[in-house]
Amino acid sequence: MSTETTHDDHHGPARGLSRWVFTTNHKDIGTLYLLFSLLMFIVGGAMAMVIRAELFQPGLQFVEPQFFNSMTTMHALIMIFGAVMPGFVGLANWLVPMMIGAPDMALPRMNNWSFWILPFAFTMLLSTLFMDGGAPAGGWTMYPPLVMQTGNAFPFLIFSVHLMGISSIMGAINIVVTIVNMRAPGMTLMKMPLFVWTWLITAYLLIAVMPVLAGSVTMLLTDRYFGTSFFDAAGGGDPVMFQHIFWFFGHPEVYIMILPAFGIVSQIIPTFARKRLFGYSSMVYATSSIAFLSFIVWAHHMFTVGMPLTGELFFMYATMMIAVPTGVKVFNWVSTMWKGSMTFETPMLFAVGFVVMFTIGGFSGLMLAITPVDFQYHDTYFVVAHFHYVLVTGAVFSLMAAAYYWMPKWTGNMYDEKLGKLHFWLSTIFVNVLFFPQHFLGLAGMPRRIPDYSTQFTEFNQISSIGGFAFGLTQLLFVYIVYKTIKGGEKATDRVWEGAEGLEWTLSSPPPYHSFTTAPEVK
């Protein structure tokens, strides 16, 4: 790499659209990822609004059952692959080079590709809404034989999943290579910020499981078009095998969406507690343990398929074990706050909200791990409540926290603190109105993925829907806050936050186009 730093002026961004299309700059690509993620969050959210509108009352009011199923399927695919994952990759792009003292990502051209595949993948996926037979409606888990009943959308579904997988794998390789090779002198592994650590581990998970997903959907494709019978019982295949393969991808995928969140929260809480993170090394070990365990718990998603008793026992024990390292993390965050000197700006509010509500999702997760009771919980709204606590108040809240925390660094402008706090409180109140009643619905016996329900479930569904509409509207406030911050505002200092530690805060706000052209010395 060239160490010429004096020509910086000639290496500024290109002008106009080509800056974004041809960019190999980690910050530009990070921005693209984040804006794309926000767009998909709104598209997926609009689908959730359709779902909650239909479920506001018993009976069919707005949509037909088949379209309802398309909405649940597409909502999940878009939120997981379009909103949460690209959101975290965007953060990694922006932050990893700045946190480890590098000028850019290690593989900048591949970086451009891994982003620009995504708009095509999602255009293709969304186009299925207008096809004969409708959009995929067999659930985001694509279980055969049901998924085989998808109309013309079927190959487009498979191909778009392939594209998302390719994008994720390229992004992950880039992150691993950057972290392993481009750390500034003195930045040993155990000195890396936790956000970098959690992303390093996440990237390995991605590289390990994305090909598994690609393999399983390819098998669906050949079953449908090339006469194989991997999953077709009539041809000697095994429909349950798909579920095993899918969840071997699917469970690590859950941690792909939460480990970077752990990293973000571990950056933010120490800053606003003005106190070092408690138990740094135990955080690293806990993250690694969670990553390891994620590979041996997959069948807890399928306790009801009729596994042998020994299989059920193994997966129950392994799943319960996850509570240990996750507990360690929560205890460490609480200990970091203990005897700190805390202030509660918007990023801290979201981080504290994350810790509380993610833990609630963790508790319901522990309950779900207990196989004999899981037979009751499985495929009910209790599960829906559980994973939305983990993914919305978990992953999405951490993304919000990160946006508020680093936006002043990225744009050079402070966001509007009053609006930020308003956004937090509205989100927190309504997200609980939205998802907490779903625990009761599930326990009382409401299955998930149904467009209509028995009248006994009416009240809690109405409360949930009201919470849903309000939570959805509140997010438009976030869009406005982001817009306002990009446009202008009070100038941010380099360090931004009084208690902020780390290399990214030594750069100017906004940082130079090439982050560290001379490697900083880390002591």
Binding site: G151, A234, A273, F278, M321, G340, S341, V356, L441, D452
Partner: protein, 375 residues
């Protein structure tokens, strides 16, 4: 109407705020798992409450410490940050203590699971088959079999009439089981994956084509218990309920006798010639429960997804081909094989109906004997 609705809504939100505080008063809204009427469901309920309270205990502790800290360790209150940031002793402690709590949970869970999965020594076996979108029941020892489909009328679902008490949780032919007998259910499916679940009975098993899963229930109280398919199985997943009626031994024996005599009467009826009016009347009913979900009540189907029967080449073409499609389905499409689900009379009736309804006036009359010959 609106006022009572609002009142109920308010009570329900109050109930949510009280969490599980007053289970009796709020039973109407179903806040918690039902305790159920089988040994399995009661064991599951007890485990559920145990773990729930353990979680509540941990939550009170952790959140208590956290909120105390949030209130007192504020910069605005002059708090100065302490310097400590690690302690191996504490880390080991809070790894081991949760681990021990988990072991404490795993022991009763293992015990419960072992007894739930033990389907040996059953008194009675019933095969349960999931179809898109109904359930088939077959009493293996008694040679009784029937299909159980949703009984809620279309107009209630589309809000043209007020909804009944058991809206979406009512069927035409419920599963009948004797009380205090160990009933083994052999669960499978013919098309896609379904899942058989009645919350009061405490167990859920996936119905998977090509697999036979087994589970057992011992209902300890006479009554009617309602559940639903729990695995997404396509368009009408939300419309395939399960109703189980548990009867005492004498009533159950009587029910079995009735079913058997009805079956032999049906067999006799299949032998005779049927009139157009008889076939059309029966065919209309069969069409409504077995065909209308896809092909629609007006026979026009859903363009792009399910073909129309009105004026179609099958319903107005050769009779043999038409019977063949109904009996054996069409591979690679959502059209199921109805040969195993419907009797000769039902297939004859529905074929006749399809060939003469919606202006398909072919005038063809399909007799049960013709279906029997085509099987």
């Amino acid at each position: 109407m609106l006022v009572t609705r609002l009142k109920r809504l308010l009570t329900a939100s109050g109930g949510a705020a009280l969490l599980l505080g007053a289970p009796g008063a709020l039973a109407e809204y179903g806040l918690n798992l039902p305790r159920g009427v089988t040994p399995i469901s009661q064991e599951a309920y007890d485990m559920h409450m145990l773990i729930f309270w353990v979680c509540v205990g941990i939550a009170v502790l952790v959140f208590g410490v956290m909120f105390y800290s949030i209130v007192s360790h504020r910069k605005s209150k002059g708090a100065v940050a302490a310097q400590f940031h690690e302690s191996t002793t504490v880390e080991i402690l809070w790894t081991i203590v949760p681990f021990l709590i988990l072991v404490g949970m795993a022991v009763p869970a293992t015990k419960a699971l072992v007894s739930m999965e033990d389907t040996s020594n059953s008194d009675l076996s019933i095969k349960v088959t999931g179809y898109q979108w109904k359930w088939g029941y077959e009493y293996i020892d008694d040679d009784i079999s029937f299909i159980s489909s949703l009984a809620t009328p279309h107009d209630q679902i589309y809000n043209e009439n007020p909804k009944g008490e058991h809206y979406l949780l009512e069927v035409d032919n419920p599963l009948v089981v004797p009380v205090n007998k160990k009933v083994r259910l052999l669960v499978t499916a013919s098309d896609v994956i379904h899942s058989w679940w009645v919350p009061q009975l405490g167990m859920k098993k996936d119905a998977i084509p090509g697999f036979i899963n087994s589970m057992w229930i011992r209902v300890e109280k006479e009554g009617v218990y309602r559940g639903q398919c729990a695995e997404l199985c396509g368009k009408d997943h939300g419309f395939m309920p399960i109703v189980v009626v548990a009867k005492n031994e004498a009533d159950y024996a009587q029910w079995v006798a009735e079913q058997k005599s009805a079956a032999s009467a049906d067999a006799a009826a299949a032998e005779r010639e049927w009139s157009m009016d008889e076939l059309m009347a029966r065919g209309e009913k069969v069409y409504a429960t077995s065909c209308a979900a896809c092909h629609q009540a007006n026979g026009e189907g859903i363009p792009g997804a399910f073909p129309a029967l009105k004026g179609s080449a099958i319903a107005t073409g050769p009779v043999d081909k038409h019977i063949d499609v109904i009996l054996n389905g069409r591979s690679g499409t959502a059209m199921a094989a109805f040969g195993a689900q419907l009797s000769d009379i039902d297939i004859a009736a529905v074929a006749t109906y399809e060939r003469n309804a919606w202006g398909n006036d072919t005038g063809d009359l399909v007799q049960p004997s013709a279906v029997k010959a085509a099987r």
